[in-house]
Symmetry: C2
Subunit: 330 residues, 2 copies
């Protein structure tokens, strides 16, 4: 491996001068600069990132901690974060905390040790309270931690309300909500929006817990439809969860959307791949990731933030798992 001192020798200057050329910092004469540049070319020199990081206490990396890389929502988010990070010259380190608080802590510690410049946290888990003491710039994404940590979420409550409204407008008389994990702010907000609309309109409804996963949602829905065969509208708190609901319903002989309408939440490409394609409350996933990355970088570079809380609008995407019923029976 070529070092800066090899280059220096080759160019007949000191290591300091080479460093100055590399960083375009301080005074360097034209001749020296040229000599260094040629030497760098000839020796195919690349400055050692680790040595740099050690002195600078900055690695130009940002950590992105996700709860479940297997849920397509997060890769989507990761891409956005990465795109923005790369344009600002940062590299992204993706960490899969697996919904495990301990693993999350370990990653945060490991990242700090690696001198990452900042961390974006998207964990499902409700974990710790001492985030302020982490000592590294942090941004919360699709998750609410505390008032001191800049936060990017979508309008979960309004989205939940919109989902309920859509089902009701489509003629559903008995709604179910497959809510997300308890204690998770985004899930609570979706529930709360749903509840408000449903209570206000007086539509029959039932709420059951299903984490965001497919199998669990399938099981829960099967049980739910058994107990309440007249349910004709389901709002699932994630698209994957909605797929589970559809699966269970179909297995019981219910037709979607004729017997049962289903609406998801997230707006991942996955929803379009289903047949029938999934109606959903879409989050602006890419925008959320991009915004979180930009906020973090501002934080890192000590630029002022206008706000600490950004709520991006969700959008109802009507596809084939819901449709307006004709006014007919009853």
């Amino acid at each position: 491996m070529t070092t800066i001192r090899d280059v220096a020798k080759h160019a007949n200057v000191s290591a300091a001068t080479v460093s100055r050329v590399l960083n375009k910092k301080g005074y360097v004469s034209k001749e020296a600069e040229e000599a260094v540049l040629t030497a760098i070319k000839e020796l195919n020199f690349r400055p050692n990132a680790v040595a740099r990081t050690l002195y600078n206490k900055s690695s130009r990396m940002i950590g992105l901690i996700v709860p479940d890389i297997t849920n397509p929502f997060f890769p989507e988010l990761a891409r956005a974060v990465e795109d923005v990070a790369l344009t600002y010259g940062y590299t992204v380190v993706l960490c899969n905390a697996d919904g495990n608080v301990e693993k999350e802590h370990n990653y945060i510690e490991a990242l700090k040790q690696k001198y990452v410049d900042g961390i974006i946290l998207t964990t499902n888990q409700l974990s710790f309270s001492d985030e302020e003491e982490v000592g590294v710039p942090m941004v919360a994404l699709d998750r609410i931690i505390g008032s001191k940590i800049p936060t990017v979420v979508s309008s979960n409550e309004e989205g939940g309300a919109a989902a309920a409204r859509h089902l009701i407008e489509n003629g559903c008389r008995f709604l179910a909500h497959l809510r997300g994990p308890k204690g998770l702010a985004t899930a609570e907000d979706r529930l709360s929006g749903f509840r408000k609309v449903v209570e206000q309109s007086g539509v029959a409804n039932v709420i059951v817990e299903a984490d965001f996963h497919f199998e669990k949602s399938e099981q829960v829905t099967a049980k739910l439809l058994e107990h309440h065969p007249t349910i004709d509208g389901i709002f699932a708190s994630s698209d994957v969860s909605a797929a589970g609901a559809i699966k269970a319903a179909t297995a019981m002989g219910k037709k979607v959307p004729d017997d049962l309408q289903v609406i998801g939440f997230d707006g991942i490409p996955f929803g379009e791949m289903l047949v029938p394609s999934l109606t959903t409350i879409a989050q602006p996933i890419y925008k959320m990731g991009a915004m979180a990355a930009r906020l973090l970088i501002k934080l890192i570079e000590n630029k002022p933030l206008e706000r600490f809380y950004y709520e991006l609008p969700t959008e109802l995407i009507k596809r084939q798992t819901t449709r307006r019923k004709e006014e007919n029976n009853e």
Copy 2:
């Protein structure tokens, strides 16, 4: 940040002794060890990973380069790699090359600079030929690079053959294969297996190119079914691609599996979420990832490899998009 010298001062020993305690290397007296351990506790000292890496030229990290984190196949693989890596004390850095050769190169360079101990390459892209000169242990996963690089793949050819056989046994008379990208060994092998069976049995067939993506497969299938309305069996070279085919067929009023049977390739959880659930040739995704990780770690630790080429068996998983036709018409 507490350094090793702070600890040394606190324990009344030299930094060298502290380092010896940390690494359990060399002679240290009981008393000294205890003093150091207490000092470490009291100061809450964590050795700096970057400094360590700089001297050791090893970061205990391994890089995993994937072509498209958005394709659920890869997160699945990543989890396996991570699981194994963690048990051996390595951290995984996930890089999304985006099917972009240049990005892949950049990542490899960046990883080398960070002193990663090894790299697992899974890229779709056919990229470069000088892998032997990378200078870092490497393993190819789901991709064939060169004879010098240990390789883990599944039995793509046999899988392709099994897919064709299954469709034929189920009574299909006119098969189509949505092949993967040209030049990609895994895609070629699947095609080759398919072709052999089809030629041997004399079944009518047509082959069209569709990368592994959903939209492309949907478009290609729509065109295909328009030109050849009598196609009654499709083998898609990925599960996501199969979903695209199903979508297109359904949009044209064809029923799956009654009018058209579809079989995918990969065996990602996604296939089960579809309605009807997807028949597929499943790769042992987790095993592949785990094996690649173990191979890489052996390589890193200079342990001997038994072989340089591991082909893991695929498995036909019959679900709802295929089914035996009764002998009836014609």
